[in-house]
């Protein structure tokens, strides 16, 4: 029995088919990169897989899902909102507790966000917001990580740092990516989608960036 398995999955939104008869197996410990043009069905596939194991998985959704008037600290803290009693959550909302700050700071340091810890999200750049969403997902301490283009707005140098950090701290990683070099470097297998169909399913070692080009010619 595989860790995650889809058999003949078909998804359509208001008449338009987004995933078409798609079958897929993912084992624990794999690092998967989902590639394909926008509209190929990557987000739908990612969310479908996430729903199957959401109790022990962290997600960085495409729209990030950050609360814009809260600080970076509070947004990251939300990753463990279910671990603490309600009164404790509220106390920490009103005044950040030192214990929590000490736990969250190292994650922010890894992602180069340590100086922004008490800034509200709306003051941050797109890349910084994306890294905050990654930090929140990492803070969940789950074994599986899902990310929908988690570094699309982060600069090249930082992208490596972020993907490195995600890779090290999670057993299984499933990311949709648009940068082919990064996709190959941080994955063990590449899954390519086109028009909702699975058109590539190869170990990353067998592939070069140029091999992925045809997924984008349409």
């Amino acid at each position: 029995m595989s860790f995650l398995e889809l058999k003949n999955a078909t998804v359509s939104y208001s008449g338009t088919q987004v995933l078409n008869d798609l079958s897929l197996k993912i084992e624990r410990g794999e690092k998967i990169a989902l590639v394909g043009q926008s509209g190929a069905g990557k987000s739908t596939l990612l969310n479908l897989l996430y729903q199957k194991c959401k109790n022990d998985a962290a997600l960085v959704p495409q729209d990030l899902g950050l609360v814009s008037s809260l600080t970076v600290f509070h947004n990251v803290y939300m990753g463990q909102l279910n671990q603490r009693p309600t009164w404790y959550n509220i106390a920490n909302l009103l005044k950040p507790l030192q214990k929590e700050v000490d736990q969250i700071s190292p994650i922010l340091y890894q992602l180069g966000l340590e100086e922004k810890i008490f800034e509200p999200i709306r003051e941050l750049s797109g890349g910084q917001q994306q890294r905050t969403a990654v930090a929140r997902a990492m803070y969940r301490n789950s074994s599986t990580f899902f990310g929908d283009e988690p570094v699309s707005a982060v600069d090249d140098h930082q992208s490596h740092k972020v993907l490195e950090a995600i890779s090290i701290s999670h057993e299984t990683v499933i990311l949709s990516m648009h940068d082919m070099r990064l996709a190959l470097k941080y994955s063990s297998r590449v899954i390519g989608l086109m028009d909702g169909k699975l058109v590539m399913n190869e170990p990353s070692g067998n592939l070069k960036a140029a091999d992925l080009d045809h997924l984008y010619k349409h």
Partner: protein, 488 residues
């Protein structure tokens, strides 16, 4: 456009039936005396002036705070129909009517003043806060780990973004609360309305001017003295300051609920039989034909005329503060003019025009149009400031009619429809000044100690208001008008 013309036509037709005339012999004498008074404000006139101002602020703060405390929990359960109906009802009764009711229960005490503001405001807060919460960003919910308690989700996901809007709206409501609080003086509570009434009736216009100037300053400076952190302090100070002595007795309250408000035939009936029932029917029929029906008709006439008047004045007022039409100097004058019209409670404005022109619908309609026109004009003016014009746009009147007006028209209509129900509530209340709207009959019923009649008429007024409110939201939906929640 068709809608606007329709409303204009209705107003003209209704206007023909309404009683619009100047009945004073020579309004100019009174105008001269008022003008003289307004340039010679007399700040020493009443020793109690300072006390009255602080009372006004205290009642407003306590009323708005209590309204918040009651309205917020209601906002959380607003999805239940029964709650929505309940809130619609309590906010459809004007503060002054609430005050008249509470006067019978608690007497002339501070509690009457606070509750008169808090109860209708709770209904308004519940509606607006629930709308704000509904519009809050739902995206973060996706990222909240499953198994999180609902309270935690609410506090972390929905509250933070809504909080900013809550603060802005509560501040706006405090401004309204100050006006309401001032007007409560007209029914005897110790706010500035009390002194305004006696000053007006004695023609001491210098005293009136002094009171109003202080009031404008308090409202204009509201952003300087109100801060979230200071609110608890203000609440404590207000509680300490306002008078607590009063003639409240539990017997009074019990009597009011179990006896006074019962329709007269039920009160005198010895048993509940057919005779009582037919007496009750006759009682209802009399009130309906003699008071409720004529009251409803004149309330509707005045409301529609005032609404169209508001629309006309808005179109004149908004350019006064717009960067698109006037320079800094012109705009400052415009701002000052609109602030004064906005901050003067419509009740006081109506009283001024009433003194000038004598009792008819005219002073009430003009007062409502000026007050509401200034409010919407202010919002429209600010709205035009954010508009981007093409580089070769025309200027002056051409700019107004060919560019700005067509672009802001949907917004303008949306604001007007929002204000419709408010105008109707104010129309009813102006009856207390002697114009034969529903408020006139309610006030007379209270004066004659016929509380059963008063309550019946208040309920009629509330139902009329709720009808207008639903009609307005129906039209807004039909015309697909959207606006921000900031002005209910």
């Amino acid at each position: 456009m068709r809608t606007s013309l329709g409303f204009l036509l209705v107003a003209i037709i209704l206007g023909l039936f309404g009683d619009f005339e100047i009945t004073t012999v020579d309004p100019w004498i009174e105008i001269k005396r008022m003008a003289l008074g307004s340039i010679t404000p007399d700040f020493q006139a009443t020793e109690d002036l300072l006390t009255a101002v602080i009372n006004t602020i205290s009642f407003a703060i306590l009323g708005v705070a209590l309204g918040n405390a009651l309205g917020f929990p209601l906002a959380l359960v607003f999805k239940f129909r029964i709650i929505r109906v309940f809130c619609a009802f309590i906010r459809s009764v004007h503060e002054l009517f609430w005050a008249l009711i509470f006067l019978q229960i608690f007497g002339l005490t501070s509690l009457t003043g606070i509750l008169a503001i808090a109860i209708p405001y709770a209904g308004i807060f519940a509606k607006v806060y629930s709308e704000i919460l509904e519009e809050s960003n739902q995206a973060p919910l996706q990222a909240v780990p499953s198994g999180t308690s609902n309270i935690s989700i609410f506090m972390f996901v929905r509250m933070p973004d809504a909080w900013v809007h809550f603060k802005t709206y509560a501040l706006y409501r405090l401004e309204c609360g100050l006006r309401s609080s001032a007007v409560l003086g007209f029914v005897g509570l110790p706010t500035i309305g009390f002194h305004l009434e006696s000053a007006f009736s004695q023609g001491k216009y210098s005293e009136v001017a002094a009171l109003l100037i202080i009031f404008y300053v308090v409202i204009a400076a509201i952003r300087m003295w109100v801060h979230v952190r200071l609110v608890p302090l203000y609440i404590i100070l207000a509680l300490l300051f306002i008078p607590w002595a009063g003639e409240f007795t539990i017997n009074n309250a019990v009597r009011f609920f179990t006896f006074d408000i019962l329709p007269y035939p039920l009160r005198v009936a010895e048993s509940f039989d057919m005779a009582t029932l037919s007496a009750l029917g006759a009682w209802l029929a009399t009130i309906w034909t003699e008071q409720a029906f004529p009251g409803i008709i004149s309330t509707i006439i005045l409301t529609q005329v005032a609404l169209v008047g508001t629309a006309a004045l808005t179109l004149v007022f908004f350019p006064l503060i717009s960067t698109k039409f006037f320079n800094v100097f012109g705009r400052s004058t415009g701002h000052l003019f609109l602030v004064i019209l906005r901050s003067t409670p419509e009740y006081v404005l109506a009283l001024i025009f009433l003194l000038l022109w004598g009792p008819s619908m005219l002073p009430a309609a003009v007062a409502l149009a000026f007050h509401n026109g200034a409010i919407i004009g202010h919002l429209m003016g600010r709205y035009t400031d954010d508009m981007v014009l093409r580089p070769d746009s025309p200027k002056g009147l051409n700019l107004y009619s060919y560019d700005i007006l067509p672009r802001i028209y949907p917004q303008f209509l949306a604001f007007l429809f929002y204000r419709w129900e408010v105008i109707m509530r104010e129309t009813a209340i102006l009856g207390i000044l002697g114009i034969a709207t529903l408020g006139f009959y309610i006030d007379s019923a209270f004066a004659d100690l016929r509380f059963d009649r008063a309550l019946f008429l208040i309920i009629i007024t509330a139902i009329l208001n709720i009808c207008i409110d639903s009609l307005s939201s129906y039209i807004r939906r039909r015309l697909r008008l959207r606006t921000t929640v900031e002005l209910t």
